[in-house]
């Protein structure tokens, strides 16, 4: 540690996939925390939750990393019980949609235990849930329940949008956070490579500025942060528009002052979230701004999210169901220059094509 501090230059940047970052933090948790364990359907198989737990069962043994039957509610209850006696459980759901089977344990139990017993009991634990998207996964493999979980006090909800965010947040959560945390990971991020910056640029357990700008504020979550960053680059290059991108990052405990300060500067807002608009993240952003200053915005904000329907499977429908890069760029430009901004929009429609053609594993 002292060594590293003495020569910061030695620690140079490297490239690491999101799945790789997850694997590193899972490995680190098991290594540093003798009471940590990982359980979930398939955590010990060759696919290892899309590469985020691969090899750990071999390395740490079946008592620390193990498969479970199909029992989402039961598994979450087992995790809580273990947490109450001092373990640190990490559970997984390969689709966020399956966490609805564990809703009682998450909302009625884990979220309540610290408060309900006046601090007599704690259940620090990490629930990793993965949001699906594209290739016709459809209505039951595509939901992104951040607004749902963040509504309930007692839960901490994060949505790491990069390998850096995973590397910085997960150890902080696992080693120090006193309560249950739900981390919502986006499947499309898993196979992406990110550059890891030196340690002085830590992603906090709250919101942060992912890109500075002065004309429009884009408040984004998860994979939409990447969309926003690409769009910000595009509008900079094509139209000289300077977009500030804020990664909300923590959904339950965002840095609303940071968001408000940015909007105070830009007076223009775009929100870009992975879920539906209704009763979602965008609403809470509006509320927080209004409570601070109802006159902040010059014009109605633009909001990007899923269309108000369950997710269809046809590619032609999926493509218009999710906000595309086209939509994101248009939203920023409309904020900055008005509806008739006249600037060419990028042609590609679907984000899944932007990064790579996602075709599983599911």
């Amino acid at each position: 540690m002292t060594m590293a501090a003495a020569k910061p230059l030695a620690q140079s940047s490297r490239v690491l996939s999101y799945a790789g970052a997850l694997l590193e933090t899972m490995d680190g948790a098991l290594r540093d925390h003798p009471n940590a364990f990982i359980m979930g359907q398939g955590v010990d198989d060759f696919k290892g939750i899309f590469g985020s737990t691969t090899g750990l069962a071999e390395k740490y043994g079946a008592k620390r990393v193990f498969d479970v039957p199909l029992m989402e509610e039961g598994m979450t209850g087992v995790a809580i019980g273990a947490a109450l006696v001092g373990d640190y459980p990490i559970t997984t759901h390969i689709r966020a949609d399956f966490s609805f089977l564990a809703m009682n344990q998450i909302i009625n139990m884990a979220a309540k235990y610290s408060y309900m017993f006046g601090g007599l009991m704690r259940c620090p634990m990490l629930i990793r849930i993965v949001v699906g998207r594209s290739w016709g996964q459809g209505a039951q493999h595509s939901q992104s329940p951040q607004a749902t979980f963040a509504h309930y006090p007692g839960l901490t909800v994060v949505m790491p949008s990069s390998s850096q965010a995973v590397l910085d947040m997960y150890p902080a959560i696992i080693n120090r956070h006193p309560g249950p945390v739900i981390s919502i990971e986006h499947r499309l991020l898993y196979n992406l490579d990110f550059t890891i910056s030196p340690a002085d640029k830590r992603v906090p357990l709250t919101s942060y500025v992912a890109r500075e700008g002065s004309d429009v504020t884009v408040v984004a979550t998860s994979v939409m942060v990447l969309e926003a960053l690409r769009a910000a680059q595009y509008v900079q290059d094509r139209a000289g528009v300077s977009a500030e991108v804020i990664d909300l990052n923590s959904i339950s405990h965002p840095d609303w002052e940071l968001v408000a300060a940015s909007v105070r500067k830009t007076r223009r807002l775009v929100t870009a979230d992975t879920s539906w608009l209704e009763y979602g993240v965008g609403g809470e952003v509006c509320r927080q701004l209004m409570m601070r200053d109802p006159g902040l915005l010059r014009q109605p904000p633009a909001m990007l999210g899923m269309a108000p329907a369950p997710c269809p499977t046809a590619k032609s429908l999926e493509d218009i169901y999710y906000p595309s890069q086209h939509d994101t760029v248009d939203a920023i430009l409309t904020q900055a220059k008005g509806k008739n901004h006249g600037i060419d929009l990028p042609v590609e429609r679907s984000m899944t094509e932007g990064y790579k053609r996602f075709r599983g594993p599911f």
């Binding site: 359907q41 198989d45 199909l70 089977l101 016709g136 329907a309 046809a314 218009i320």
Partner: protein, 308 residues
């Protein structure tokens, strides 16, 4: 003789299922079918034997692995391919894809991608049938893994208490994704059901369409008389859990386990009948694929319909 005719009928449907899924495998690299597919190759005899034994007006509630049940229950092939293609003429207009095939007109009710979640639906439909009188029954089709979910317990208990005409049909391929049954289950299914007072039977010969049909006929008769029944049928999934490939190279299971099955699989063993029937079936499939290819893609007009 009669058995021979039945055998041909069942065989034809089973072969159709297999050829359909092989066509899906062939088409998949073209990316025309952008839908996660859970193939039932190796398991066709179950769907075929079960659906043949059920009455046309009996209902089947199914899972994401339901190409076989869709076809065996009488679902239209062209609408199925159009659905896999995500086209307007798909049975659900491209909103369902492979995981949610349904054909309520022929009694195939919703297929869900959330494991075990249609089991209570079959119980609920059966409850209605009972209240209305008559002797329709409902069948819940699910994999061995589904029985681990809490709702299976709730469904068994309720069905037994209310004595509803529901057939619990477990397709036991011994796997849930890559997990073998013994590490997931402490119980044997038929003994477990017996604890709820539900009669049951395990059929080991799940490759044998006639045996499946006969077992289902007997089970359905029991159910029709007003009692739930658990029928567990051993079967074998030849392909990977999801997708069109094989997965033996990942070493989580051996080829042996599947090979033993293949040696008894009529769709392999009865090569003569395969050769005889295939050309006509392939033409049917060609037509369905052509139908799908010709069907337009849904668009903005369809995006927000049928939400409520």
């Amino acid at each position: 003789m009669k058995d021979e005719a039945i055998y041909r009928r069942l065989f034809r449907t089973a072969l159709l299922i297999r050829l359909v899924e092989e066509r899906i495998i062939a088409l998949y690299p073209s990316d025309k079918i952008q839908s996660p597919v859970h193939l039932s190759i190796g398991q066709e005899a179950v769907a075929v034997g079960v659906c043949d034994a059920l009455r046309a007006d009996d209902l089947v509630f199914a899972t994401y692995r339901s190409h076989g049940f869709y076809i065996a229950k009488g679902g239209k092939l062209d609408a199925m391919f159009a659905e896999l293609y995500g086209r307007k003429d798909g049975i659900s207009g491209g909103k369902a894809g492979s995981m949610h095939l349904a054909a309520p007109d022929v009694g195939l009710m919703g297929s869900s991608a959330v494991v075990a979640s249609t089991i209570p639906h079959a119980v609920g439909a059966a409850l209605s049938f009972k209240r209305r009188g008559g002797d329709r029954i409902a069948a819940a089709v699910f994999g061995d893994g589904a029985t681990e979910e809490g709702v299976y317990h709730e469904s068994l208990n309720f069905a037994a208490l209310m004595r509803v005409p529901v057939l619990f049909l477990c397709e036991d391929n011994g796997l849930a994704v890559h997990s073998h049954r013994p590490i997931r289950q402490s119980y044997r299914l038929i003994e477990h059901a017996a604890a709820y007072g539900i009669a049951g039977r395990r059929l080991e010969e799940g490759w044998d369409m006639l045996a499946v049909r006969q077992a289902t006929l007997e089970a359905a008769a029991h159910v029709r008389s007003g009692e739930p029944f658990v029928l567990e049928i051993a079967t074998s999934r030849y392909k990977e859990h999801v997708g069109v490939g094989e997965d033996f190279h990942f070493n989580y299971r051996t080829t042996d386990s599947v090979d033993a099955w293949k040696r008894r699989d009529p769709l392999i063993v009865d090569a003569k009948l395969v050769a005889e029937l295939s050309p006509e079936l392939e033409r049917e499939i060609d037509a369905a694929v052509a139908y799908a290819e010709a069907s337009p893609a849904p668009g903005r007009l369809e995006l927000l319909t049928d939400v409520i």
